[in-house]
């Protein structure tokens, strides 16, 4: 039998018995207030950000309106600004990046999800994740001193010999170019597209694969006919997410693209992107209109990336409804 000694009520307990059950807890109010403050900061910051971008751009918007998007002259001295080359360059470099990165990323994602030996999956996935951890400026550094010389001396001439009949591969080869930017962007974007695709593929129920295999399909056929179509909108979402990242990349791009306000058909020609222009010209902007034009560019870039990312998330959410994949985008 357990020996139990007389229990004295704790002093606190006695006091509460006297006062009944009433006592306020002030800690709760303060705690919630502090947390709310933290949470409120975020929408406030965004609102502030949009406001500042808008008011910074107002001067240029007032002067150029929507012509800003369609004209090409960029003359700080004459205060004439047209962002068409920037927009063109942003879109083209991102497109090139996706053309290179998407097949690669999908191939890796499908391999890791469906075919790779179990032991390889985590390590390879981890290594590819390391690519995402390399800072943009380091990519740019490598781009200038290693990638561009290689492209200029070997790859570009080869491409020109083989595909020179296409306008994309004509014209002089300098090194810094749209294609160089596209290649670097592809390397940078690939981990994201790969990782999200992988999550999406993992969310496909096993029954799909098993059904195909049971019908006598080869592993590859099972994947390509059942799993990939099932996950198709999620994969599209991953691609668009990659696009979103490519649109906003700054440092690596500005270090390899040549920084020329020009629309050209050739991929070997130097070009410019919205982010690169801001990076290069902002700190030494000539006058208020120049600054405002750059702010206008920033505003446009912001709007575009927000829309693209929102679209991406919607697509990813549809496939990976509720599962962890929906929220992850590295």
């Amino acid at each position: 039998m357990i020996a139990t000694t007389e229990r004295e009520a704790l002093p606190g307990a006695r006091a509460s018995a006297q006062h009944g059950l009433e006592h306020a807890s002030y800690g709760d109010g303060l705690f919630k207030a502090l947390l709310t403050l933290g949470a409120l900061t975020i929408p406030v910051l965004l609102a502030f950000l949009v406001y500042e971008l808008w008011s910074g751009a107002r001067l240029a918007i007032g002067r150029f309106g929507l012509d800003f998007i369609t004209t090409s002259t960029w003359d700080p001295v004459a205060e004439q600004f047209g962002a068409l080359p920037l927009i063109f360059g942003t879109l083209l470099s991102s497109l090139v990046a996706l053309v290179i990165a998407v097949p690669l990323s999908l191939g890796v994602a499908i391999y890791l999800t469906e075919f790779a030996p179990k032991a390889l999956r985590q390590p390879v996935s981890f290594l590819i994740g390391l690519l995402a951890a390399i800072p943009s400026v380091v990519y740019g550094l490598w781009g200038i001193f290693v990638l561009i010389p290689l492209l200029r001396t070997t790859v570009f001439p080869l491409l020109q010999d083989a595909l020179g009949f296409l306008p994309f591969f004509q014209g002089p080869i300098y090194g810094p170019s749209m294609l160089a930017a596209g290649i670097i962007l592809a390397i940078m974007v690939m981990p994201y597209v790969m990782s999200v695709s992988r999550e999406v593929l993992l969310a496909v129920p096993n029954t799909q694969r098993e059904a195909a295999l049971a019908l006598g399909a080869t592993r590859w056929e099972a994947v390509i006919t059942t799993v990939v179509p099932y996950a198709r909108s999620g994969i599209l979402g991953a691609v668009i997410l990659g696009l979103g990242r490519a649109l906003g990349e700054t440092m690596a791009v500005t270090m390899v693209i040549g920084n020329r306000h020009e629309v050209a058909a050739s991929l070997f020609a130097p070009g410019y992107t919205m982010a690169a222009a801001i990076a290069n010209e902002f700190s030494e902007a000539v006058g208020d209109m120049h600054l405002s034009a750059l702010a206008y560019v920033a505003f446009l870039l912001f709007v575009v990336t927000v829309l693209v990312n929102a679209g991406a998330r919607l697509l990813i959410w549809r496939v990976a409804r509720g599962s962890a994949a929906g929220g992850k985008a590295l």
């Binding site: 357990i2 704790l10 307990a13 509460s16 018995a17 059950l21 009433e22 006592h23 807890s25």
Partner: protein, 274 residues
């Protein structure tokens, strides 16, 4: 096993007063209805629980017994959409009165849950002391004394006295549940609620917890929800049978199990449904 005290006179269906118990109820409900949003889980239950007894609540899954239990320490309102009408009285005072601080209330009515939930970042000692520390400052010596006393009452002292500073997660399931019990009784609540406390334990762990209840009821009023009929028969003084949210029958355990008044009760007890 001590004999449960029997009523000596015919008793109304809702109220049980064992002859040698104090006349007041420690906990009492008055037309208590508990809801989740629009769904009524407990319907107009009026029950009284005498002090220093073990009161069992039985019934099939979904009958509302756990919900009822959780209204007694105002945990029910923490669930999604949980609210009540009616009254719950602790020593005659309505615990749902607007001035009442639920947190303070829960220091007088403790609860042990179905799955053991020791605090993972705390040692065995700190777990037991947690309820004490949150209520105010005690000296080191006082804490030591109370921790030891609670662990002894939970029959855990001998097993952990040499590793009080060790992680609580290193204990076995049964030990963790006894730790949770020690943690709950350390601050000397008046009432201890047990929600299927042995459901996730093996038979040995179950038996040890059941043995404790006989000693504990000397100090606490114990209300235990269990789906294990044998357990209810073994440990409790009174038993109340719930079905589909209503309180069907309540009385001394002996009477409920040998001569239930209601047909439903008999059907459940004899296993015709469950």
């Amino acid at each position: 096993m001590p004999e449960p005290a029997l009523a000596t006179a015919p008793v109304p269906i809702t109220v049980v007063t064992p002859a040698d118990a104090p006349a007041r109820f420690r906990v009492e409900t008055d037309e208590l209805t508990a809801m989740y949003g629009d769904f009524t889980a407990v319907k107009q239950v009026s029950l009284g629980f005498t002090p220093n007894r073990v009161h069992a609540l039985i019934g099939p899954s979904g009958c509302g017994k756990s919900t009822f239990l959780r209204t007694l320490n105002r945990m029910h309102e923490l669930s999604e959409g949980g609210w009540i009408t009616g009254r719950v009285l602790l020593d005659g005072a309505d615990i749902y009165a607007s001035r009442v601080n639920a947190m303070q209330l829960r220091r007088r009515i403790g609860m042990v849950f179905q799955r053991p939930t020791p605090f993972p970042t705390m040692s065995v000692y700190d777990n037991v002391a947690a309820g004490l520390r949150v209520q105010g400052r005690l000296s080191r010596a006082e804490l030591d004394g109370l921790v030891e006393r609670s662990l002894r009452q939970a029959a855990l002292w001998d097993e952990v006295k040499d590793r009080l500073r060790g992680s609580a997660m290193a204990l076995s399931g049964g030990q963790q549940q006894r730790l949770c019990l020690a943690r709950t009784i350390a601050p000397s609540p008046e009432v201890v609620l047990l929600d299927e406390p042995t459901a996730s334990l093996d038979p040995q762990g179950t038996q040890r917890i059941e043995e404790l209840l006989f000693g504990l009821k000397r100090e606490f009023t114990i209300i235990i929800v269990t789906h294990n009929l044998q357990q209810a028969a073994r440990v409790s003084d009174t038993t109340t049978f719930f079905y589909l949210g209503s309180m069907v029958e309540s009385g001394p355990t002996r009477q409920i199990f040998t001569a239930p008044r209601e047909q439903q009760t008999e059907a459940y007890i004899t296993g015709r449904f469950g």
